[in-house]
């Protein structure tokens, strides 16, 4: 039991240090992604205003990239704050952390389903296929995050048990 307690303290310390680094890395990536998305948006808008006509395939790619950058920046920011919370408390199985993981999963799935659809609707383009509506990789990532939420709920129960025992 005492050995377990020591192990737990060691791991908590490692979790704190690790999440500190991750919080900084994810926040920086979120900022860069947001800047890149805004740059894409400005480029698209200014091209439309000045030349008054952008080929639909260029607009399609730009809109898709803007959507992806927006969603990615949001997900990275949520993850950054999640790591920040863990770096303060050292506890990975808190209610707020679990909610963050679920939100990231839902955003992943929405991004997968919406970015191509939005680009198609906004440009009225004929470039649309079923594979665009159902991009498997990003949806699988979303599913993994939603699954991680279930695992974390189980972990939270173990944590409560452990706290009550002590």
């Amino acid at each position: 039991m005492a050995q377990n307690e020591r192990n737990k303290k060691d791991v908590t310390e490692k979790l704190r240090t690790g999440s500190k680094g991750l919080w900084i890395a994810f926040a920086a990536c979120a900022l860069l992604t947001a800047i890149w998305g805004i740059f894409q948006l400005i480029t698209l808008v200014s091209a439309r205003v000045s030349a008054n006509a952008v080929p639909w395939w260029t607009a399609y790619d730009s809109i898709q990239r803007i959507f992806e950058a927006g969603f990615l920046a949001a997900m990275l920011l949520i993850a950054a704050f999640m790591f920040r919370r863990i770096s303060f408390s050292g506890m990975p199985f808190e209610e707020k952390t679990i909610r963050s993981v679920r939100t990231i999963g839902i955003l992943c799935i929405i991004q997968g389903l919406c970015s191509h659809l939005a680009a198609s609707l906004l440009t009225l383009s004929p470039q649309f296929a079923l594979t665009d509506l159902f991009p498997m990789q990003i949806i699988a990532e979303g599913m993994v995050f939603l699954f991680a939420e279930k695992m974390m709920k189980y972990g939270a129960m173990l944590q409560i048990e452990s706290d009550e025992t002590l």
Partner: protein, 154 residues
């Protein structure tokens, strides 16, 4: 009451992990086909040598990662217990493979394209994903200690 809740979650974990393992197998098959086409030279005909090397390495690692993920989720669906040593090792392996996926193209391409290869490393999403998986392994290790405590109490 608590035990009931735990059993419910374990049941959900079992079902979800089975679905995800099937998804992983399908993605592994896609990666395998793409890798085969890259090696055969039927994919990326209009691409430069640099891009072909990058995507070939990417599909190779993608195949390995998806197969390992399928094994991880399948074993989880069988046992229903997410925090065991075997699963922690699998998550660590996936994290290491993601790290290699980010590093290997840079190392291979550095002699031919120089500093531009470092850009591939910095902009690679694999790097962040690998850090997340390695951190997840640490969380799982913490949970495995809690699991051990819980088992000993019962």
């Amino acid at each position: 009451m608590e035990q009931n809740k735990k059993n419910q979650i374990i049941r959900k974990i079992r079902t979800c992990s089975l679905v995800i393992s099937v998804f992983c197998l399908v993605l592994a098959a896609f990666n395998g086909i793409a890798l085969y086409q890259c090696i055969n030279g039927t994919l990326g005909l209009s691409m430069t040598e640099t891009d072909i090397t990058r995507i070939t390495v990417g599909y190779g690692f993608g195949l390995a990662i998806m197969l390992l993920s399928a094994v991880l989720f399948f074993t989880m669906s069988r046992s229903g217990l997410p925090f065991t040593k075997k699963k922690i090792i699998l998550v660590l392996l996936i994290g290491a493979l993601l790290l290699l996926n980010a590093l290997v193209p840079t190392v291979i391409l550095f002699p031919s394209i120089g500093i531009k290869a470092v850009l591939y490393l910095v902009t690679s999403s694999s790097l962040l994903e690998s850090l997340m998986f390695l951190f997840a392994a640490l969380i799982m290790y913490y949970a495995s200690i809690l699991q051990q405590e819980s088992d000993e109490t019962l």
